[in-house]
Each structure stands twice: as C-alpha cells, then as structure tokens.
C-alpha cells in the first residue's frame, strides 16, 4: 500500500500548522526542508563534523519541543537559525573555556578604545597594497579556513549568517537576539580580525 500525502507538494505553512498540532510526521517534513541550511550554519560555527551532528540533532529536538512557543512573527527559517546558532555557540563555549573567554573579551571591545586602535591600524595597513588580494584563491581559502578556526565562535556565527547565508542585518539581529548596532559592530570587527589573520598568515 503506497501511502499518500505530505512531501514536496505540502507547503511549509501547512506542514507547520500540522506540526504545531503535534503531528510529528509533518515536523519531519520541515526537518527535511531545513536540514541542509541548518547543517551549513552549524558547521560553519562549530567547524567539526561530529560536533555539528550533535548540534543539529539538538537544534531540531529543541525546535520540536518548543514549537508551541514559535510565534510566526519571524520566518520559520529564522527561528530555526536562532536555535541552531544558540545551540552551536553553547556547544563550542562548553567545549572550550578559552574560546569562551576570548568571545567575552571581544564583546567588551566592541565599544572600547581598542576597537578604534584596531580600526586605524587596519586602515593604515589597508592603504598599502593588500597582501590578502595577492593570494591565489586556493591559498586564500586555506588560510581563511585556518583563521576561521581561530576566530571566536560568536564572530564565526555572524560572518556565516551574513557572508554565506546573506541574511539582512535585522534578520541576523533576530537570530542572535542582539541589537542591530551590535550586529553591525560585531560583523565589522570580525571582518577586520579575519583580514588581519589572513594577511598575517600570508606575510
């Protein structure tokens, strides 16, 4: 007996309504739709396959359990992103106390004078011919991967959401549950840190 219904023909709203009514199979349809994207953002933050698997499982489990709290003010994808990023950051922070401290110090810097010093330093170095753009793309990619591994997870998250997933700043703010200004500031500093790391590795 072939069994009908649910699948690509079902729209997301229909699946969501059924899932909110407790239909696990409908929720599985939503998992199927969003798994790849959730996997991508989680992996870019965690950067470890086994850990990313754990986080992705936790993400969907949390979503299933919290479905009653989803208000539909944001898109489902944004809501899932929020859970995924939160779980991924939590996972990484638990795994590395050192990274947690680094992340906190970075947030402290965002409004402090150190940021201005970094900015001016970055600008003056940028005035010269950028070593970053002298790199072969393969070499740039290799160094980028090394540097992303070193970046604080919170910065990896904001870079992944913007530079890869191309989320708007207000969407990122909703995902990270921070102010719009914090998104702007964190993203700028993450980019500068990444640039300096790649150039440092190149020089």
């Amino acid at each position: 007996m072939d069994v009908p219904a649910l699948g690509k023909d079902d729209d997301e709203a229909g699946l969501l309504a059924r899932a909110r009514a407790g239909d696990r199979v409908a929720f599985e349809g939503l998992v199927e739709r969003h798994l790849s994207q959730v996997w991508g953002v989680v992996w870019r933050i965690v950067r470890h396959t086994q850990d990313a698997e754990d986080v992705v499982q936790d993400t969907f489990l949390t979503a299933w359990r919290s479905l009653g709290d989803f208000r539909e003010e944001a898109a489902l994808s944004t809501w899932l992103h929020r859970i995924a990023v939160t779980r991924a950051l939590h996972h990484v922070e638990r795994a590395s106390e050192r990274m947690r401290r680094a992340s906190r110090s970075i947030d402290d810097e965002e409004t402090g004078p150190a940021a201005l010093i970094a900015l001016e330093g970055g600008r003056s170095r940028a005035a010269a011919e950028s070593p970053l753009r002298q790199l072969e793309s393969k070499e740039l990619l290799a160094r980028l991967q090394q540097c992303l591994d070193k970046l604080p997870p919170a910065w990896r998250a904001v870079l992944a959401l913007r530079d890869v997933d191309a989320l708007a700043y207000d969407e990122i703010a909703r995902v990270l549950e921070v102010a719009l200004g914090t998104v702007r500031s964190r993203l700028a500093r993450a980019r500068l840190a990444l640039k300096e790391c790649v150039e440092g590795a190149a020089s």
């Binding site: 007996m1 072939d2 069994v3 009908p4 219904a5 649910l6 699948g7 899932a19 909110r20 009514a21 407790g22 239909d23 696990r24 199979v25 409908a26 929720f27 599985e28 349809g29 998992v31 199927e32 798994l35 790849s36 996997w39 992996w43 870019r44 396959t49 698997e53 992705v56 499982q57 969907f60 489990l61 299933w64 359990r65 479905l67 009653g68 709290d69 970094a118 970055g122 600008r123 940028a126 005035a127 010269a128 011919e129 753009r133 793309s137 740039l140 990619l141 980028l144 991967q145 992303l148 992944a160 913007r162 530079d163 890869v164 700043y169 702007r184 993203l187 700028a188 990444l194 640039k195």
Partner: protein
C-alpha cells in the same frame, strides 16, 4: 575631497556599506565619494568583499548520510511542545472532575433506593436466606464491576516498575523527553510511535516518503488472531508469537547498514521480514533509504537469519535478543 567627504567613515560604517546596510541616517552618496577618493578605505572595502567571496567558496561538508535518520530517531523519542498539548492540562482536569462528579452522582442514585428499602429487604432476605445480607452489604462497595480479565483485551506484558526504570535509563533520548515534559501529558510518541502509526489513519500521519508495506496474509492472520488467542490462553503473557501490539519497545541501535540498498530492495526485504515475524516494516524513501523493522523479541533470531542472507552484518553485541517481552525496532540504513 570636500570637508564633508574627508571624514573617515568608521569601521562599522564601511562594513555596513559593503553590505548595503548603511542605514537611512547616513548619506550614501557622501560615503561613496569618500571611498572613491580614499585609497585606504577603498582597499579595506575590497578586502572585505574578497573575504566574503572566499567564505562563500569555503566548502561545508555535505550533510552526513546518517544524520537525517538520527534526527528523526531523536524526534521519535521526544514529545512535542506544541500548543495544543498545553490545552490538555485544563481539559484533562475538567474531564477528571466531570467523571468524578458523575460517578458520585450515579453512586448516590444507586444508594438512595437501596437505603429506602433496606429494612424491608433485610427482613425479606433474612427470611429467604441467611447468607443474603452479606451480599447486600457488599454490593455498594463495587457499584460498577469491571469485566473479567479473561474476557478483556490482554493486558500489557508484565513489567515491573524497576524494569521500566532500567529501560528508561538505557535510553537517553527517552529520558530527556521524559524530563522535559510534564507528567500529565499523554503517552509519548516514542513509547508508542510504531503503534501510533499502525493504528492511526494512514492519510493523516504518513508522508509520501514513508511507505508501510501491507501485512502478508500470514502476518495479518497472526495479528487478527492475537487478542482472542492470547486472552484465552494466558491473559497476563505477551502474545509475541501472534504479533500482538508491543507494549514495550527495545530499540536495537546497531550500525546495521546495507550496501547498495535502494527503496525497492528495502521493500522486498521488508516483505520477507514480515513473513519471518516482523510486525511492522517501514521504508523511508530518499537518497539513502532507511528500513525500519519492528518485531516481537521472539522473532529476532529468524529475522537475523534473513538479514544475514541479505548480506546485512549483525554485530555480536545485538545477536542475543534482550530478555523479557516486547518489541525491537531495528533501523537499517543504506550505506553510501
């Protein structure tokens, strides 16, 4: 460069400008003119763009083939926090109260005429039979006797609270779900997910990517016979051989995999597994299909033989079936 455009934009402003997110309060034209005239700012902007392109090119490993199955497994062991379930608390409280009130009312209704005629009844029954008063006194204590167990649906397999606790401790997922959910919630999908799928409407619960094979005539006959056969023989014993519904689910989670399995092969195997005693067989279609067999513990040796014939390795750790009754759920993933 004019005085207005000579001011260096901040790092935040440059970064946001790269993204087209500079904000309404900022003069985009002024910023564009500055970047065009300022080599250091232009270089920074170009570097940011180059980094964004490089990140896009940074490959993410593909979703592991087994991850979808694991996610679904975790979901199967958890309860939803969906809103409708929250209505169950007041609803269940109200229903309980209502049942209680009705029961008390019925009991009093039964009591009232009995009390009114008690003296006469007692006199008459004493005259008729000296043993009758005991029966009359005992009657109100059991106003609605339940049907005899032998004629009722066979009870679930005997299972002590301790065993149940042990089973829970072995299943982390189920434990997590239980911890996160209120005690009043209905039975979790995990505990009865297979049976829920068996008993509920197919069109309501089964997606196209799932395919449940129809029972073979033998399996159907076993299932049809299950309640009466088990009830007549030994009401307290689980009717595993008859393929009766499973009250206990032991989940085998070995790395069972099948190289080259596609949906057609999975369906063929599922059909044979039913003949060997599996009570349910579900094929999850997809790039890498999954076959989930649900079977009484007693059928595990025969199904093992069948799996071995098909080239599916059975780890030593799971060759022996768990002690006690109930069912096994055996997921078999296609190997890429």
């Amino acid at each position: 460069m004019s005085a207005e455009t000579s001011r260096h934009p901040s790092l935040d402003e440059l970064s946001a400008w790269v993204d087209g997110e500079i904000g309404d309060g900022f003069d985009r034209q002024v910023l564009a003119e500055h970047v065009a005239a300022c080599a250091s700012c232009a270089s920074l902007v170009e570097d940011f763009r180059a980094l964004a392109r490089a990140q896009e090119a940074d490959p993410v490993p593909p979703v592991p083939f087994h991850l979808p199955g694991r996610v679904l497994d975790r979901l199967a062991g958890a309860r939803s926090g969906s809103r409708p379930r929250r209505f169950l608390l007041p609803l269940s409280v109200a229903a309980t109260l209502l049942v209680g009130v009705v029961a008390v009312w019925l009991y009093r209704q039964q009591q009232a005429p009995a009390e009114g005629t008690a003296a006469l009844d007692t006199l008459e029954t004493r005259q008729a039979s000296p043993q009758a008063p005991q029966e009359q006194e005992a009657a109100p204590l059991a106003p609605a006797p339940a049907p005899a167990p032998a004629t009722a649906i066979p009870p679930a397999p005997a299972e002590t609270g301790k065993e149940r606790q042990k089973e829970k401790s072995e299943k982390k997922v189920a434990k997590d779900a239980a911890r996160s959910e209120p005690a009043f919630a209905p039975a979790p999908p995990q505990a009865s997910s297979v049976m829920a799928r068996q008993t509920s409407s197919v069109s309501e619960t089964t997606p196209t990517r799932w395919m449940r094979l129809p029972p073979t005539p033998l399996a159907k006959a076993r299932r049809d016979e299950a309640p009466s056969a088990a009830g007549a023989a030994a009401p307290a014993a689980p009717s595993e051989e008859a393929g009766a519904p499973c009250a206990v689910r032991d989940l085998l989670r070995p790395p069972l995999g099948w190289q080259g399995m596609d949906a057609e092969k999975a369906e063929a195997l599922a059909e044979r597994a039913r003949s060997a005693g599996a009570s349910d067989a579900i094929v999850a279609r997809g790039p890498l299909p999954r076959l989930t067999l649900v079977l009484p513990v007693g059928a595990w040796p025969a199904v093992q033989d069948l799996l071995a014939e098909s080239g599916i390795p059975i780890p030593d750790a799971v060759r022996a079936a768990p002690e006690g009754g109930g069912c096994l759920e055996v997921p078999i993933d296609a190997q890429p």
